[in-house]
């Protein structure tokens, strides 16, 4: 009996890590779970952007954003409300489910008083002075399945939350160049499938930035990150997004996702 207990304990010690590794979901499965997370059919919200340079000088923008799904097609629009130098700037994107179809993006620049069609392949460019790229903004705590190979590295605790650590590498150099990243490691909450932390490496393989999703709580039954932080390790620049007045039930008119609404502003 004693022998068999020892053998059980020994075998447990030897085999448990393998069992745990086998129990880890694959990167693809985790990506699927992240993207399947309910984020409502539509949402209206205020977003305050704080842009802080390495010397601590802060610029603050107030925006109102709307997002709405049309089956698998996602439409997003962001209107700048303050300050005056960016007021009435507006950005709109149609994100299509077909991998081969380029997204459509428009930018309204009040100085030109024109809506400008912009290339969706600039998705690695930084969005209007923030440390988030156009792709980051568009994906909103979700991930692009087709752009990355993924592997699950481990499971650990992050700030007391159990998370899976997933490493993502772009499928080829062209995509890496487009995205501006050669590698991304994400800490994904195993219960609510929200990305709590991400680390990014630039195309040369140097550490680029770290992002966090914080103040995560339910709004109308939907897990919502109310504070996003990004810190660029190369420039020392930080971006903080603070979401408020988040409403998943408010009616979001289809007319908001039109060029005329972009020009007119809110």
């Amino acid at each position: 009996m004693k022998l068999s207990l020892k053998a059980y304990l020994l075998s447990s010690l030897i085999f448990t890590p393998f069992v745990m590794a086998n129990d880890l979901p694959t990167g693809a499965e985790i990506a699927e779970k992240i993207n399947a997370r309910d984020d409502g059919i539509s949402v209206s919200r205020l977003l305050t952007m704080e842009l802080i340079d390495r010397r601590g000088k802060k610029r603050v923008r107030e925006t109102r954003g709307f997002r709405k799904y049309y089956d698998d097609e996602k439409r997003t629009v962001i209107h700048y409300l303050k300050p005056r130098n960016v007021k009435r700037t507006a950005f709109m994107t149609f994100d299509y489910p077909q991998a081969k179809r380029d997204d459509d993006q428009w930018l309204y620049l009040p100085a030109l008083r024109k809506v400008r069609r912009i290339s969706a392949s600039d998705r690695g460019d930084y969005f209007l002075g923030t440390d988030y790229t156009y792709e980051d903004i568009k994906k909103e705590n979700k991930v692009s399945v087709e752009d990355y190979h993924r592997k699950t590295l481990r499971k650990e605790l992050l700030d007391g939350f159990p998370v899976f650590v997933v490493e993502s590498t772009p499928i080829n150099n062209e995509i890496a160049k487009e995205l501006g990243y050669s590698k991304v490691v994400r800490w994904v909450d195993e219960k609510i499938w929200m990305i709590r932390k991400s680390e990014f490496w630039d195309v040369q393989g140097n550490p680029l930035k770290t992002t966090y999703s914080k103040d995560i709580r339910k709004v109308q039954g939907i897990w919502t990150a109310h504070r996003l932080e990004a810190e660029n390790k190369k420039t020392g620049h930080k971006t903080i997004f603070i979401f408020s007045d988040v409403d998943y039930k408010k009616e979001v008119s289809d007319d908001l996702f039109t060029e005329r609404a972009l020009r007119r502003g809110l």
Binding site: D53, R84, R264
Partner: protein, 433 residues
């Protein structure tokens, strides 16, 4: 001209204020009026100096007020006060103040209405105008002022009616304001013989008064634009029945005892403009363009046998633009502009086909706080052009500083070359509160 329009302005003010009265009383019942009220002030000082002259030391103050009367009603008022310490660009008009824009935006069902003094911008081209001719332009400083500043807001009605996923826009413009050109003693007065017909040597020149349309109803401009988004393409069809904002210089040759006398009778004339725009993105490239066909435009001729010094011709004009986003946080944009007069070979003062190319290189640095750009415009006919390097630094959200050069080159008969002596250094600061 301004005085004659006071009645129209007064009527427009009344319509807007009476319509808003009901909204205002509703607001008064609410807890805090300030929730609906937003005001700001932009103050800019810009100096420009050329080899010999301080061209301008200009102060512009633009207070803006927005009042959100309800979700569907907003009133915007922007005043503009300008003072130039120098008397080189507009010697007779160094200070001016105006209600620059004043409009009421509302919606009836899904139709968006904008009523008042406003800018209505058509077209996809940057800096070149084919369809962006709804509002007149202030050319007091040629094209060196930003279009959003130099485009002259006019009293108009703008209705945008959704039709499915498309939009039908109707515009009505009873305001008969036209382009403003630099006075003959201004630095940027047009002197090119390709623009202003030159009298033969020794001839007397007589300029008669400007013949302006006088009836605000029958002489108003009207236009439509149908916009749609189809298979990734942004498409518009445009139509404008309007008075062309540049006067036609009708000429009469009179032989007198003292010799040849040339009498010029400037007059604004109507034209139909039909056109369209398109844009789409292909990978790193964005293709955009616009085309306009003007019926029966008047063009001056140097033909001394021509009875009135002008010929009528249709004009086809188009712009093709390519924007390349291949380098991070950068834009390289090139445009080809061409206009073609379909008739008239008799010594027209301008070429039948006129071609201009432009290139814009722009890059943002330091999280969009520092911006550099180089704009190049080159006319292939006259082989003249303009180079405009500029850097802009946003010190913070309230303070912006810029420094740039405006370098003209080419023959004095070219559109750009005529200002060859006006190359200048420009620097300015803008404070917004």
């Amino acid at each position: 001209m301004t005085c004659s329009r006071n009645g129209l302005y007064g009527a427009a003010y009344k319509i807007i204020f009476l319509s808003l009265l009901g909204q205002c009383s509703a607001i008064a019942d609410e807890k805090n009026f300030l929730n609906y009220f937003d005001s700001s002030l932009a103050l800019s000082i810009e100096a420009a100096v050329d080899e010999n002259t301080m061209q301008k030391t200009e102060l512009i103050i633009m207070p803006e007020i927005n009042v959100d009367l309800s979700n569907a009603n907003r009133l915007t008022a922007i005043a503009r006060l300008r003072a130039d310490a120098q008397e080189n660009i507009d010697p007779n008009n160094q200070t001016e103040g105006e209600l620059h824009e004043f409009y009421w935006e509302t919606s009836i069902s899904r139709t968006l209405l904008t009523l008042g003094k406003q800018q209505i911008v058509w077209g996809k081209a940057d800096g070149l105008k084919v369809l962006d001719v709804v509002n007149p332009q202030d050319y007091r400083e040629f094209i060196l002022d930003e279009f959003s500043h130099s485009r002259i807001p006019i009293w108009s009605l703008n209705a945008e009616l959704p039709i499915g996923d498309s939009t039908l826009q109707f515009i009505w413009l009873p305001d008969q304001t036209y382009h403003k050109f630099a006075k003959s003693n201004g630095l940027y007065a047009f002197t090119s013989s390709n623009i202003i017909p030159k009298p033969p040597p020794g001839a007397q020149l007589e300029r008669k008064g400007l013949d302006e349309p006088g009836n605000r109803l029958t002489d108003s401009d009207v236009g439509f634009r149908y916009s749609t988004f189809m298979n990734g393409w942004d498409l518009t069809l445009n139509y404008l029945y309007h008075y062309v904002d540049t006067p036609v210089l009708f000429r009469q040759l009179i032989t007198t005892n003292e010799g040849l006398k040339i009498s010029i009778s400037p007059s604004y004339e109507r034209s139909h403009l039909v056109g369209g725009t398109f844009s789409n993105a292909f990978g790193e490239l964005t293709l955009r363009g616009e085309v306009g066909y003007s019926f029966k435009r008047y063009v001056s001729t140097n033909d001394s046998k021509d009875t009135d010094g002008v010929i009528q011709t249709d004009e086809l004009a188009y712009v093709l633009g390519l924007d390349w986003y291949g380098i991070s946080n950068s834009l390289l944009s090139v445009q080809l502009f061409q206009s073609h007069l379909l008739e008239g070979d008799r010594n027209l003062i301008q070429d039948k086909t006129d071609t201009t190319i432009t290139a814009l290189m722009k890059r943002e640095f330091m999280n969009d706080t520092l911006s550099s750009e180089l704009l190049w415009l080159h006319n292939l006919n006259a082989d003249d052009g303009l180079l405009r390097p500029k850097i802009t630094y946003n010190v913070n959200d309230e303070i912006k500083w810029w420094f740039g050069l405006d370098v003209f080159y080419g023959d004095s008969n070219g559109l750009f070359g005529q200002f060859n002596e006006q190359d200048r250094i420009v620097s300015g600061i803008e404070i917004t509160i």
